[in-house]
């Protein structure tokens, strides 16, 4: 490595006309970044393995004890696992650029930062869709195994369930993504996400039981219960409106301020 070599840079054909980097290329690059490092690769593998492990345990336990299970139930079990891990994936897509300081290279090659962030969000959505479809296929296999063990089967999986389930997973992932944009730090974003998932709903319930006026307000700010309606595809009155309003509060605001921060940030 230390031997001097002839110092001539191989040339490329000159740039004849200036073409900006097309979005499809930015998207391809960001997709590749989602698995090409050791940590990112193993996160994806871990999601897959955990889903398979949990599904197999559920199949064995329910099949041997002859509990009633449907395909939708298996999908739901997988969904619980992915709803925890996909947001972590969404967070890592953003924060590794800062923790590893690769944002310097990324934004030097594509100074139009919103396009990079949009590409990352689309990569997160793509991986979520692939994961959810994968979880459903695994659920299908497990349901077949269950049929063999229990001697009966239920292949019910409503289209609404499936679509609702998918949107639910995408929104949870985007929540992680939004918090990541806001704090630009993996650990902090994960803590905020889990507080948002497990602590905030409890606080809202506490407030609702203590104060009447808050009880009326609560459904409009309780994102977790609004998004839960999606997963069960069963909306109370104003359910969709509540989802939109609470979504704007918990996803929209962090994303807005996060993007503003990223656009103005000094990248070091």
């Amino acid at each position: 490595m230390s031997a001097p070599v002839p110092a001539a840079v191989p040339t490329l054909p000159a740039v004849t006309h200036a073409t900006p980097v097309p979005f499809s290329r930015t998207l391809k690059v960001e997709l590749r970044k989602s698995w090409d490092s050791r940590a990112a690769f193993w996160l994806l593998v871990a999601i897959g393995l955990l889903v398979i492990a949990v599904e197999l345990i559920a199949t064995l336990v329910s099949g041997l004890q002859d509990q009633d299970m449907a395909w939708g139930d298996f999908a739901g079990i997988a969904g619980f696992v992915t709803s925890v891990l996909l947001p972590v994936l969404g967070i890592m897509l953003v924060t590794t650029e800062w923790s590893q300081r690769t944002a310097m290279t990324t934004f030097a090659l594509e100074p139009r930062r919103p396009r990079v962030i949009l590409a990352k969000a689309l990569v997160g959505v793509t991986l979520t869709v692939v994961t959810v479809i994968g979880a459903m296929v695994i659920g299908l296999v497990c349901n077949a195994l269950y049929a063999g063990l229990a001697g009966h089967s239920d292949w019910h999986l409503g289209l609404g369930d499936m679509v609702g389930f998918l949107i639910y997973q995408v929104l949870e992932m985007l929540a992680g993504f939004a918090f990541a944009c806001l704090v630009l730090n993996t650990a902090a974003a994960i803590v905020i996400f889990f507080a948002f998932t497990y602590v905030i709903p409890g606080l809202i319930a506490l407030g609702s039981s203590a104060m009447d006026w808050f009880d009326k307000l609560a459904p409009w700010i309780d994102f977790q219960s609004a998004v839960g309606n999606l997963a069960s595809w069963d909306f109370p009155d104003n359910g969709v409106a509540q989802l939109i309003v609470s979504g704007l509060i918990w996803l929209g605001l962090p994303l807005f301020f996060g993007l503003r921060r990223i656009l103005r940030a000094e990248v070091k």
Partner: protein, 299 residues
């Protein structure tokens, strides 16, 4: 061509870059020199749009960096060789760059060969790279798009002596082909052998700029260091001519140009064993200029 005009960057009450203006011309290597914290890196980050300036502007080939379409094909940037993902392989880092710029993957192999990273080294993860290897990878990344302008922040950091010589040759050849090179360093001897133009910066302000000769001329009156087989005779001859020789180590320091010493020695018939310019070198000038800015606070 890089054109910096009235560039200022303020952090609260601290002015990191203070009204800096200069130009880097095609076909020339411009050295950007200053002690740590002088504002070199901040200036370079502003050049490539990673830090917004408080005032002033930078254009590259007449355009602001953010307006350049596919900037990787026009400007090669290496700001910090350590700013790479630890968990990626060296080859992967270049592959991502080539993809982003829309280059064929064989360009990656060309660049790896250029910076002498072997295929097995390229397969290793950055975590296991030495600083010198990261620096080579960073130079490869900067050259990927065959740009006309290179902006390199401390590229010699961590390179071994052979590596530094290699890089010098590379950049020289690149400039000879018409490329514009701006490289920064806090080590003068790294830069003075390669740079056609030098910009000295201290505390965010440019304290001197010009080519080597101009800078040296501003460094004070001529001095020579000389050693002869017979120092005493030479000293007497120099004194007779009105100069003031002083013993210095094994030889003499005298307040005249080396050419005067040579002529005197010839006339006196003294054999010289060593004769060189003893004026304040660039290093002294550099320290003196940057120390001045520190003493006075603001110029």
């Amino acid at each position: 061509m890089i054109k910096v005009e009235g560039l200022t960057r303020v952090y609260g009450s601290y002015t990191a870059v203070d009204d800096v203006s200069f130009e880097c011309l095609p076909g020339k290597v411009t050295g950007f020199l200053g002690p740590n914290g002088a504002g070199k890196s901040t200036t370079m980050r502003i050049m490539v749009g990673l830090t917004p300036p408080s005032k002033g502007s930078v254009t590259i080939g007449g355009q602001r960096y953010s307006q350049i379409p596919n900037p990787g094909r026009h400007v090669g940037v290496l700001l910090d060789a350590s700013a790479q993902h630890d968990g990626r392989t060296g080859r992967e880092v270049l592959t991502l760059g080539a993809m982003a710029m829309g280059l064929p993957s064989k360009r990656v192999d060309e660049m790896l060969a250029l910076v002498s990273l072997t295929p097995s080294e390229a397969k290793r993860r950055i975590k296991n790279y030495s600083l010198g290897m990261k620096q080579r990878l960073g130079i490869a990344h900067a050259l990927l798009g065959d740009p006309q302008v290179l902006i390199l922040d401390e590229p010699a950091n961590g390179l071994d002596p052979a590596g530094i010589r290699w890089m010098r040759g590379l950049l020289k050849a690149y400039a000879d082909r018409g490329g514009t090179v701006l490289l920064s360093s806090h080590l003068l001897h790294e830069v003075e052998q390669i740079a056609d133009e030098m910009i000295l910066i201290g505390r965010g302000r440019i304290v001197a700029q010009g080519d080597r000769r101009t800078l040296l001329a501003s460094a004070g009156p001529a001095q020579a260091l000389v050693t002869a087989t017979d120092n005493d005779t030479l000293a007497k001859a120099l004194t007779a001519k009105g100069f003031h020789p002083q013993p210095a180590g094994e030889g003499i320091r005298v307040d005249c140009a080396p050419v005067d010493v040579g002529r005197t020695a010839l006339e006196a018939g003294v054999v010289l064993t060593d004769l060189r310019t003893g004026g304040a070198g660039l290093e002294d000038l550099f320290l003196q200029l940057t120390a001045d800015t520190q003493r006075e606070g603001t110029l």
